[in-house]
Every structure is written in structure tokens, then in C-alpha cells.
């Protein structure tokens, strides 16, 4: 049991260390998020009723795409350099190691999205309630996106395809997360008891924590054959 957690912790720390040494990957998701976001005031016109009405949805959709983009290579690099073989033969089940990889990936690339989201809310002239509701909904939502996305990334590992095809596979799974994520922010803005939405997001997070690593491990084992 102790060896299992030691192995998972080692994977978590190595992935975090690798991400911090590569740096580009850390800034890629948040860079895409902020630049794509800045296009909306330019396209729609700053201020104004429209921007503030659609703002929460835009921020969530862009965060969702940023997570999806950053996930592209979560297993592919390990597959190419043979690290995946090592993970398969580790002292811990592959499912636990995938969970560790997702945790490191979320911390290294997606936590920044959560942190800059109040700024994003200012960009899109959101009411003040969004300044806390937006990061909080993303804090619960982006780990779900990472976990679900890992299934798509695992399915396509070794196939030589990624990117758009992963998006096609995973985006349908993202729909409920998007609905309740945006719902939470909107409810906070209009003072309609956002608690329910946050609880549902939390329930989805727990469910994906339990199930996504199982599915991703299944897909990875198939990819290795």
C-alpha cells in the first residue's frame, strides 16, 4: 500500500517537474485563453449589453478549449519515449498513476486558468458577482475537463492523431460540465442560489475522479498492444 502511493507520488512529482522545466506547456493553455478572450471585445465591441450577457459562456467555452488543447500530449510523449511501459510495470495500478498524471497536469497548466479568470471576467465586463463565481466554478470544473480529456488522449495515444480528433471525441462529454459551470456563474450574477450548481459540479468531479482513470487506463492498455 505504501509502495503504491510512493509510486503515484513519484509520477506526480516527476510530471510537475517536467512541466516546470519545459515552461512552454505551462503558459500555452493560459496564453491561448487570454489571447482568444481578447478577441471577443474586439469583435463584438467593448462594454455594451451583449458582451456582458454572453461573457460567462465565452469564458467557460474558452477555458474548455484551452484544457482540451493542453491535454493533447499528456500520454503521447510517454508512449513515444517508452515511459508508458515503465508505468505499466510499476508498483502501483495504472489507474492510480493516471490520476497522478492528471493531478500534475491540472496543477501545472490549468490552475493558472482558474487564477486569471477574474481578470477575464473584467475583460468581458461581467458584474462583480462573477469575480468569485467564475474562478470557483472553474476550480471545480477544470479538473473534470482534465479527467474526461485524459480518456480521449488515451484513446488516441499511438494512433498518430490528436488535436482535432481528440476534440471530436471529448467535446460531447464536456457539454454537461459547460452547462452547469455557466449555470453556476449566471445564477450567482442573478442572485439565484448558485449553491445547487456548485454541488452538481462537485458531484460530477467526484464521479469523474472515480471513473475517468479506469476508462483512460483501459484505453492506454489497448493503445500499447
Amino acid at each position: 500500500m505504501r509502495e503504491m502511493f510512493r509510486a503515484a507520488l513519484a509520477v506526480f512529482r516527476q510530471d510537475l517537474r517536467l512541466a516546470l522545466r519545459r515552461r512552454v506547456e505551462v503558459w500555452l493553455a493560459v496564453g491561448f485563453f487570454m489571447i482568444a478572450l481578447s478577441l471577443f471585445p474586439l469583435g463584438i465591441g467593448p462594454g455594451g449589453e451583449t458582451l456582458s450577457r454572453i461573457g460567462a459562456g465565452v469564458i467557460w467555452v474558452l477555458a474548455l478549449l484551452a484544457v482540451l488543447l493542453s491535454l493533447d500530449r499528456i500520454f503521447q510523449a510517454d508512449f513515444e519515449d517508452g515511459s508508458l511501459d515503465r508505468l505499466m510495470l510499476a508498483a502501483a495500478p495504472l489507474e492510480l498513476l493516471i490520476l497522478a498524471k492528471c493531478a500534475a497536469h491540472w496543477l501545472a497548466t490549468n490552475l493558472l486558468l482558474v487564477l486569471v479568470s477574474p481578470l477575464a471576467a473584467v475583460f468581458l465586463s461581467q458584474p462583480s458577482e462573477a469575480f468569485w463565481a467564475m474562478p470557483f466554478s472553474l476550480l471545480l470544473g477544470t479538473p473534470i475537463l482534465t479527467l474526461l480529456g485524459s480518456i480521449g488522449a488515451a484513446l488516441l495515444t499511438g494512433s498518430g492523431r490528436g488535436g482535432i480528433l481528440a476534440a471530436l471525441l471529448v467535446l460531447p462529454l464536456y457539454i454537461p460540465v459547460l452547462i452547469f459551470g455557466v449555470g453556476a456563474v449566471d445564477a450567482a450574477i442573478f442572485g439565484l442560489a448558485p449553491g445547487t450548481y456548485f454541488l452538481i459540479l462537485g458531484a460530477m468531479l467526484l464521479l469523474s475522479l472515480a471513473l475517468a482513470p479506469l476508462a483512460a487506463a483501459l484505453a492506454l492498455r489497448a493503445a500499447l498492444e
Partner: protein, 194 residues
């Protein structure tokens, strides 16, 4: 005792080998020889549990073999260019479980000169030595090595032979696919036909 019975593997609908079987007692070394593409690597991967055979079973002391029993080293070494050799050894030890035998592994593969360098700065032979050492930091009784001598100089090849001999003396078994038979001291040789 490692026992392989009636093993058949096919990939992409094409049979790689069928009705393959052998038995290794503690301390024995099986050498796989044969032309490229004959199925040596496939057999190693099947023994490691990295691919599922169509039929047959692979057992260790009478029970289905577990991933915890084997060390596998293929052509892709599983090293990250950004990490130093020392970091890789510590990671490998934590991942494989058991107590890390860093000094032994470092000495066996003679890593002292570059143990703090990142892997991307190493030569192919030094990488191979790092990968071999990353197996040796933790004890597992079954070694599955796919051309472990690739890129190694004469000195390192001798170290590899010594490491294998020490592993056998401890009661471990090894299966080695190679094109350099003279390097090893096999108990049995399995020849793959063309």
C-alpha cells in the same frame, strides 16, 4: 521458475509465433536469437504483460506472472531528456517499489562521471547505461532485455555481463534478445526462424 506454455501471439491478424513454450529455473538465462522481425521483441513484451497473447500462459512459480515480478527494457528507454541521471534513478526506484539500491546500480553501470547531467546531453551508450541502471535500482526476479548491449562500449558490455551473472547468482532469471551471443552466457538458446 518461469514457465511459458503454448504461447501464440498475432499482431494485426498475422501470426508472429505459435505453440511456443519453455521453462527457466532460477539462475537461468534464455537467449533469443533470430533475424529482425522474427518476433523476439514481441515475445519479451508478451512475457512482460505489455501485450496479451491469443493463447497460452506465462507463469512465475506456478502463478500467472505479475507486472511486479518483471523488469523490462525495450528499444525505447523511457528516459526524459530534461531530467538528470540521478533524478531518473530515484524516480525508477520509487516507481518500481522496494528499497533503492542506488550505489550498486551506479557502480555497476559506472555512472559516476555523468550522474548529475541531464539525459539529453548524454550519448546513446550513456543513455543505455542509465536505462540499465534504472532497472537495477530495484530488485525484481525476472529481467526481460531487448538488445541491452546496443550502443555500449567494450567496458560497459563487460559490466552488463557481470550484472547479469550477479542477477543469476541471486536466483533471478533473464531473457535476452540479442545479435551478440558471445557477450552472454546463456543456459538455453531459442532460435526464431525467418
Amino acid at each position: 521458475m518461469l514457465e511459458v506454455v503454448d504461447l501464440a501471439v498475432s499482431r494485426g491478424g498475422r501470426s508472429v509465433f505459435e505453440e511456443l513454450g519453455f521453462r527457466l529455473e532460477p539462475g537461468q538465462l534464455l537467449l533469443l536469437e533470430g533475424p529482425n522481425g522474427a518476433g523476439k521483441s514481441t515475445l519479451l513484451r508478451a512475457c512482460a504483460g505489455l501485450l496479451v497473447p491469443q493463447t497460452g500462459r506465462i507463469s512465475w512459480h506456478g502463478r500467472a506472472i505479475e507486472s511486479r515480478t518483471v523488469h523490462y527494457l525495450g528499444h525505447a528507454l523511457g528516459l526524459k531528456g530534461e531530467l538528470s541521471v540521478r533524478e531518473i534513478l530515484h524516480f525508477a526506484a520509487a516507481l518500481a517499489g522496494g528499497s533503492g539500491r542506488f550505489d550498486d546500480a551506479q557502480r555497476l553501470m559506472d555512472l559516476d562521471a555523468f550522474v548529475d547531467l541531464p539525459v539529453r546531453m548524454l550519448s546513446a551508450g550513456q543513455r543505455q547505461r542509465t536505462a540499465l541502471a534504472s532497472l537495477m535500482v530495484s530488485y525484481r526476479p525476472v529481467w526481460l532485455l531487448d538488445e541491452p548491449e546496443a550502443g555500449l562500449d567494450i567496458h560497459a558490455r563487460r559490466r552488463l555481463s557481470e550484472a547479469l551473472a550477479a542477477h543469476q547468482a541471486q536466483g533471478g532469471v533473464a531473457i535476452v534478445a540479442t545479435h551478440n551471443q558471445a557477450l552472454f552466457n546463456p543456459t538455453t538458446i531459442l532460435s526464431f526462424g525467418p
